[in-house]
Amino acid sequence: MPATASGGARPEEAASPSVSSPSSYCMGTRPEELTARLAAAGRPPVGGCGGGGEEDGEHERVRTLREIKNQIIGNRTKKLQYLRLGAVPAVVAALAEPGVSPAALVQASAAAGSFACGVDDGVRAVLAAGAVGHLTRLLSHPDEKVVDASARALRMIYQSKLAPKFDVNNEKNMEFLLTLLNSENENVTELAANIISHSCDSNTEQLALCAAGVPQRLVNLFGGSMNLRDACLDSMTSIIRNNWEVTSRFALMDHGKALRSIVALIHDRSPRTRLLACLCLIALSHASPSHFQDRQIKTKLILVLLELIEEPGHVGDDAPLALTTLIKDSVELQKQALSTNAVQKLSNHLLANSLESRRAVTILLALAELCSKLEESRSQLMSVQASTLIIDALKHACADIRVAACSCLKNISRSSKVLSAGKLSCDTFIAPLVQLLYDSSTSVQVAALGAISNIAVNLTPRKSILLDSGAVSQLVHLSKSMDPTLRLKAVWALRNIMFLLNPKDKDFILKELTLSTLSSLICDSEHFVQEQTMALVHNLVDGYVDAVNYVIGEDGMILNAISRQLNSAPASGVCIQGMFVLANVAAGGESNKDAVMNILVARRADRIKPSFVVNFLQSKDKQLRVSTLWCILNLIYPKCEASSVRVARLQNAGVISQVKGMVNDPCLDCKLRVRMVLEHCLDNADDGFM
């Protein structure tokens, strides 16, 4: 048996039904009665029954199975009810019994397939009862109706993520799959295509299927019925996804004829086929851009997908997602989309259909992608009535819509033009965004934080709106969250608000945040949170001399935390920001310089352990080298007696000789700072202080 069901939780055993009259021929339709009758039908007959009795029994079983089937199809509640009664093992058992009539097999297959549709517990129960094995065996049953029924049931099972993967690396399995693909029965070939879509996700599986000639066979099946063609397109996509080798082979197959047959399908009459063909071509172009340089096809894809948005159902819902995947990270394709009025068309659709359902989510996400790079898209979206729609979406009851609206705003606010025009820094946008910081869904909070971070960057004259909105206290609250992503984004937003802020407001934020929270964030368990916190401190001390008191005051709580992090040499991003903080502090008076000096070159450990500064200067990261050089430069400037003492200490710690070795640093900025440091050293030495 090629396919086997994995083990799973067994469903609850049947509670023995209280009202049961298995001997009676009156056909009850209550689930309890039917389940009991089915279980009784599975037992071997007691005593010597005549042939007529067996026939009656079989007839009775078919009726029972059919009744159960008709009750559960489409009906979630009934499925759950039968699951609780433990009906699934009895239904599946009928598939395996010797001598069962084809009629009973058809009904049992249909019931098993339906249990596996739409209810996860149903899938688990069907798998646990061993249905996959039995149904697979029935695919070679002589009765065509049984074959149809079992193929359909297996298709329902393989639609679920819970279904076991079909291992195509196994030779026997592959052979079996090929016989299915070559079947005359379209239900069976469609099943084969579904199995491939369900099971094929690794590189080796894709290559194995390709080597077995599956792509060729799938292309041949495009000539079949519409449903079969759609299934084949979908499995083709899963075979080529992210696989350069398979894609290149496919592109050259039959001198490009196979590829052209898919291109032709983007103009098919059926909208679903058009969408699936687009998805397949998008996967092709991502897997192997070199085989897919024809810009015309990509323009066509954009046009077809924009048209498909008008289609009802899943096709229209998924078309914007396909468009998003197509144009992701490609400025060129985004420009093309823009030139076909994509922003206009998408937002018109939203305006015309109100914010209903999944489509609003996918359209907003597509709009967000269009605004990720292009200034023109952003201004279009801000100018049409769509901007009021985005505000509505921020307040929508559905969390996914709120997230998508935040993504739009985040990407629009990447534009310094929009920001400096102050279009987003008004209460109409800020108030609902700040409200979302209190949302019950974490993903909404994260999305809102992203938008607020961007808006905060460049709203210098209007930052008061953000500060007055009560955002700061909630940001501080979120910076203490258990969720690392929330902490990261909250600190990031605070960092951006802090950027070029006036001293009074900086004081306000710090009062809310408190020094102890700040120091624990510097020592956060996640290095990306550490980095943003260091950057927050960097923005705090930048251009505000008195702020240094926060850093070196309170027994140097903050400075100690920074020192601890730099000494433990975490990620370079953390070190860069930390060194910038120290450089800013060292730009102040003598006491500041001394405090920094004591971190760089610990008094007692002078000769025992090399200073981390030396490591930083040797780093491959030029930004780390630059920030460290700036810090040294600020320590030995201006020329004075104290500076000479510091030069001497740096020299003793091996820092200066390390700098001397950097006169030919490949980074120009570094090279310049190195020269400045060395000049100052010489100046200080000339005066005979050394």
């Binding site: 089937k69 489409g74 249909a110 739409g118 019925s225």
Partner: protein, 245 residues
């Protein structure tokens, strides 16, 4: 791109100063008919259009006769049309449970993968119970079968509320939601069923002929702006009418 732009500009400058009526081209009936005769349409294509219509709409006897007379092969097994028509008839005559069971026999995946259709059939069942005056049964059915669907879907809930509202009125035919009891409601459900079965059989759910007619109307409207010509106004006779000058 550039070429078409230039051409459009030219048209603009010609059209705008002159009055619209005088710039319309006149096509006489003789000329028009001569031009129509020059267009060759293959008989087989016409026959396939007719067959497509008969099959999609479910006229199985007519389709079979037409197959014998014209030699046109239908793109679907005629036996499946009979099944489909039986389902449709069951809905039209109010036997919803029978229709559901027949659909499940035909293909058990249709109603499982089409929640909206399943809901509309259940709703129709409720309507039939109310029509038959089986109030207790109707209430029980609404509670046990329909209420869970409403919990899963807001739009369904609203439709359930409308349907159950029928129970409140004494003169249900004239109550605000009385149209649910109309024959048209049965026809609506029946045509939804018809479309779903066709889709499951890989067949397009709408016949091609009506879209061709729509295209004809669109084309005539476009042409009206540029020319006076023998128009088809009566689509059942397709007679050409002399242009009004």
């Amino acid at each position: 791109m550039f070429l078409s732009r230039i051409v459009l500009r030219d048209l603009d400058s010609i059209d705008s100063p002159a009055s619209m009526a005088s710039s319309k081209k006149l096509v006489t009936r003789d000329e028009w008919e001569r031009k129509l005769r020059d267009v060759k349409i293959r008989k087989e294509d016409m026959n396939r259009l007719v067959m497509n219509f008969l099959v999609t709409e479910g006229f199985v006897d007519a389709a079979d006769k037409f197959r014998i007379e014209s030699g046109t092969q239908p793109d679907i097994d005629l036996a499946t049309i009979t099944d489909r028509m039986e389902v449709k008839r069951a809905v039209q005559s109010g036997n919803v449970q029978e229709a559901i069971e027949k659909i499940n026999d035909l293909n058990p995946t249709i109603l499982d993968t089409n929640p909206q259709l399943y809901f509309h059939l259940q709703q129709q069942k409720l309507i039939e119970l109310i029509r038959a005056g089986k109030i207790n049964e109707a209430l029980e059915f609404a509670q046990e079968e329909l209420a869970p669907r409403g919990e899963e879907n807001q739009a369904f809930l609203e439709e359930i509320e409308k349907t159950v509202a029928l129970l409140v009125f004494e003169d249900i035919k004239n109550c605000p939601y009385g149209e649910l009891l109309d024959v048209s409601q049965r026809l609506k459900t029946a045509s939804e069923v018809n479309a779903a079965i066709l889709t499951s059989q890989s067949h397009e759910k709408d016949p091609k002929l009506p879209s061709l007619l729509k295209m004809l109307i669109w084309t005539q409207n476009q042409l009206d702006e540029k020319a006076a010509y023998p128009r088809i106004n009566n689509f059942s006779t397709a007679a050409l009418e002399d242009p009004a000058i």
